[in-house]
């Protein structure tokens, strides 16, 4: 390509950047409520009317509740990070860090933490509102848990390898067995906020794909805006290892009900929606 053509390529780049900026700015104005969608010329964003309509629809202003939830969630996140920095025994579920033989090993946990809806038997009861679910709605629950990353690695007793884990090395992480703890937080949807009495139980998906109750010292707090903060101590388990992919299933429900989960056949877990999942998945836990 000649130097002459190079200038045209640079110009194309500038043109596309300008187009993108203009499009983003128009959509931002719509999202900010500074301009209504019908005030946008029909081909200002895209020649394809359907595409433009979709872009404008998706950019419709978020309501005040959403924005308040955002601020609350960030506030909880910042609070969690500050707490994690000062509490020696709390580490992140997003990136478990291990101290072993004087070195840190990052355990990247794809914490497919999930929201599970509970209901009491009989199973044919309606899922929506009213019953033991309270305001939980199977059709809408499933907010992604925000998995916080602690700036500090675990220390104290949590950071020590469990007994019997001595055969593992960083190159051979499969043998690492260490107790871990973590903190997760998420925000309930506005229609779930009233369910302030929330309990939690944590399961991890074991190597055979089944759900295994896990976690101890679980505490849950729910702010009036719906921000949920939970800390827990994961059990020492062989599948909690460096590089492991662990599905952490968080069961949320009425605090009284959830205490007996797994022991009480009267409570049935009816579904879960993981952060990356598109659909609400139904399943049961005995």
């Amino acid at each position: 390509m000649s130097e002459h053509d190079d200038k045209f390529v640079e110009a194309l780049h500038s043109m596309r950047r300008a187009d993108e900026e203009a499009e983003s700015e128009l959509l931002r104005q719509v999202a900010a409520g500074e301009r209504t969608a019908d005030a946008i010329p029909s081909d200002a964003i895209d020649e394809d009317a359907d595409t433009q309509a979709l872009l404008l629809e998706l950019s419709a202003p978020a309501d005040d509740v959403f924005r308040a939830s955002l601020a609350d969630r960030v506030e909880a996140q910042l609070h969690g990070e500050r707490a994690a920095a000062t509490q020696s025994n709390v580490i992140s579920m997003g990136a478990f860090r291990r101290r072993r033989a004087g070195a840190f090993v990052t355990l990247a946990v794809a914490a497919a933490a999930a929201f599970v809806v509970l209901r009491t038997s009989p199973p044919e009861d309606s899922v929506d509102g009213g019953d033991a679910l309270g305001v939980f709605d199977a059709a809408t629950v499933g907010y992604t848990l925000t998995v916080t990353k602690s700036p500090k690695s675990s220390r104290g007793s949590d950071s020590q390898p469990a007994e019997g884990a001595g055969s593992g090395t960083e190159e051979d992480p499969l043998a690492l067995q260490v107790p871990t703890s973590g903190e997760v937080q998420w925000v309930l949807r506005p229609d779930q906020v009233a369910a302030a009495a929330v309990g939690a139980k944590v399961f991890v998906r074991g190597p055979d794909g089944g759900l295994i109750p896990a976690g101890d010292e679980i505490t849950v707090t729910v702010a009036k805006t719906g921000a949920v903060r939970m800390s827990l101590q994961l059990d020492d388990a062989p599948y909690v290892r460096s590089g492991a992919q662990i599905d952490v299933v968080v069961v949320v429900g009425d605090a009284d009900m959830i205490a007996d989960l797994g022991d009480d056949a009267g409570i049935e877990v009816i579904g879960v929606k993981a952060p990356g999942a598109k659909r609400f998945i139904r399943f049961s836990v005995d």
Binding site: S24, R28, A62, T146, K149
Partner: protein
């Protein structure tokens, strides 16, 4: 739009709820718009859950900005010439594309707040034409050029390469203002159309 300064960000990170609310009000629409663009341009966002996907991703990206005690936001330096909204827009764009590529909504799957990436975004280099983009745009130009004809190439050069005013172009080409506007629009559309054919975002 509220005038956000680094001091505002520090107050928000320090627990000032009013400052935080101001950031939410200012940044959320920009993030939302970028997410919507990326989802739609990436072929997603259609279907009944499109709106929810946009809000979910907006929420995750917003939280990612504040992760590590606001490391990404703290990297913004107005002295480098980029406004905060533009800075956040670039982060959001990279983030949502990363999320689409990794086919996950997990904002931590590919942390966009790594220092090197933030540095690029914070500085003018965020606008630079990088190697892979240059290759793609070179191809785009080689495909576009045959469609333009002699006059089209001349007008492209005057309007987009030399960036001359329409009045000057009118004099140099002996064309009317309306004709030049029409050409400018046509050139943009042709470039965009070929870019879309090539799958350029």
């Amino acid at each position: 739009m509220e005038d956000i300064t680094p001091a505002t960000i520090e107050r928000a990170l320090g627990g000032d709820r009013v400052a935080l609310d101001g950031l939410v009000a200012t940044l959320t629409p920009a993030i939302q718009a970028e997410v919507a663009r990326a989802l739609v341009r990436g072929g997603a966002g259609r279907g009944r859950d499109g709106r929810q996907e946009v809000l979910d991703a907006t929420q995750e990206i917003f939280c990612a900005l504040f992760a590590h005690e606001g490391r990404a936001l703290r990297a913004w330096d107005p002295e480098k010439g980029r406004k905060l909204v533009s800075f956040v827009r670039l982060i959001a764009k990279r983030k949502v594309i990363s999320m689409l590529r990794s086919n996950t909504k997990n904002p931590w799957a590919d942390d966009p707040t790594e220092h090197d990436k933030i540095d690029v975004i914070a500085g003018n280099d965020g606008d630079a034409l990088h190697h892979e983009d240059r290759d793609a745009l070179s191809t785009l130009w080689s495909r576009l050029k045959p469609h333009l004809g002699e006059r089209g190439v001349l007008l492209f050069q005057l309007l987009f390469v030399e960036q001359e005013d329409v009045e000057d172009v009118m004099v140099k080409t002996d064309m009317s203002r309306d004709a030049i506007y029409a050409w400018r629009s046509r050139l943009r559309k042709q470039a965009r159309s070929i870019g879309q054919e090539m799958g350029l975002r």
